[in-house]
């Protein structure tokens, strides 16, 4: 197993900051989408549609850096960036960061940090969705929704996480593979 060295630590932090900066533009989109969906009682849907973008730092860091803990650390640092850039959710962002990061980490744990392909990304998207959804059941009171509505939220969340954490991550790493810049990505 690879261990953490100074270069990897700086790399995962810079990556997280890049993601944070790129996603900072999403903030207003989230607010507008929430406001548009709120009158119909569909505000959680805004969260589900955009969740994939927020959790992307996890699978991307995990796939590129390939050290146990990379996905969790990447996502946690993303949350730290958001917190100090002026996000309002403060400490609960940190908890969400760990939960989301651990969710995608589970995907890599289940494949033993050995296989890095489509299967890993699909499993990672699935575990991310399940873990973060369980957290939402408690945190945001999702447990009180009707079952049909809950199933809809879950499906939308999985699609979002899969598109950004799975498909987009794969497309990005394909580009990296073609450029031959990362030794272990072919």
């Amino acid at each position: 197993m690879k261990a953490w060295h100074l270069r990897d630590i700086i790399l995962v932090t810079i990556l997280a900051i890049f993601m944070g900066v790129i996603f900072f533009v999403i903030g207003p989109v989230y607010t507008v989408l929430s406001a548009a969906l709120a009158p119909a009682g569909l505000q959680p849907l805004a969260n589900e549609i955009l969740l994939g973008i927020w959790v992307m730092a996890g699978p991307l860091a995990g796939y590129i850096i390939r050290i146990p803990g990379a996905a969790t650390l990447g996502e946690l640092l993303g949350a730290v960036v958001e917190m100090f850039l002026g996000g309002v959710w403060g400490a609960s962002t940190l908890i969400s960061g760990v939960v989301q990061g651990f969710g995608s980490e589970l995907g890599f744990i289940l494949t033993g940090y050995k296989r890095y392909n489509w299967l890993t990304l699909v499993i990672s998207a699935l575990t991310t969705t399940i873990v973060t959804f369980t957290w939402s059941l408690f945190r945001a009171g999702y447990a009180s929704y009707h079952l049909g509505f809950l199933a809809m939220l879950f499906t939308v969340r999985f699609i979002s996480v899969f598109l950004f954490g799975g498909v987009l991550t794969k497309l990005i790493t394909n580009l990296l593979a073609r450029a031959h810049v990362v030794k272990n990505i072919r």
Partner: protein
């Protein structure tokens, strides 16, 4: 108060309140963090922002829980106040904590390995450069008639290349300036961890436990 203990306190509370349903405790915490923020001279504009945002999201959440779910009134009040607790506790922490002091405290008091503490610090100091880099990646693409969106792989590809380049250079620079992983270090600024900090943390946590588990509504 010691930054590491403060961080642990805020995270522990946020975690515990996510699983408990006592709105009176939420309310008391909201009032206390508001008073503490006022005492620490948090700007009024920031306070209004910290109130407006949760007001909108908590209302929207309660509204959708009413329409799409079967939550009791008690639970709706809990959820509504909980959103404010998250934001106010978080605000109290970020507005009264300096990231540099926090990192030093995590290294000295929480025994985070120094390679992590200094690695984070080195990277976080690049924040303005990273913001400029994202803008210049987008501008460079625009010159060739490409518009890069949040879903464009090229945007991330270029960002990752830059990240790898910079992390190579930074770690080399740190090593050449004498940074050795795992070597014992002396501190220029010692962050105190007083007895008072422990008493304050433990005492307030115990009082909150009493509030949470003695049957308050």
């Amino acid at each position: 108060m010691n930054p590491s203990l403060k961080l642990a306190w805020v995270v522990l509370l946020a975690l515990e309140l996510s699983f408990t349903q006592v709105w009176t405790v939420n309310l008391v915490l909201i009032v206390i963090s508001l008073i503490l923020m006022l005492a620490c001279h948090v700007p009024l504009k920031r306070l209004l922002w910290l109130t407006g945002v949760p007001l909108f999201f908590a209302s929207a959440l309660v509204w959708s829980l009413t329409l799409q779910g079967s939550a009791s009134h008690h639970f709706l009040i809990v959820i509504f106040t909980r959103m404010f607790v998250y934001v106010y506790l978080g605000g109290l922490f970020t507005q009264t904590t300096d990231p540099l002091i926090l990192t030093r405290s995590l290294e000295q008091n929480a025994h985070l390995p120094s390679k992590f503490a200094y690695g984070f610090l080195a990277a976080f100091n690049l924040m303005p450069k990273i913001q400029a880099e994202v803008a210049s990646i987008k501008a460079a693409a625009l010159m060739r008639g490409q518009v890069l969106h949040v879903w464009s792989p090229q945007l991330y590809f270029k960002a990752i290349l830059t990240a790898m380049h910079w992390s190579d250079q930074l770690s080399l620079a740190m090593t050449s300036h004498g940074f050795v992983e795992g070597a014992p270090r002396t501190q220029a600024e010692v962050i105190p961890l007083r007895r008072r900090d422990w008493w304050l943390t433990a005492g307030s946590l115990i009082i909150i436990q009493v509030g949470l588990f003695t049957g308050l509504p």
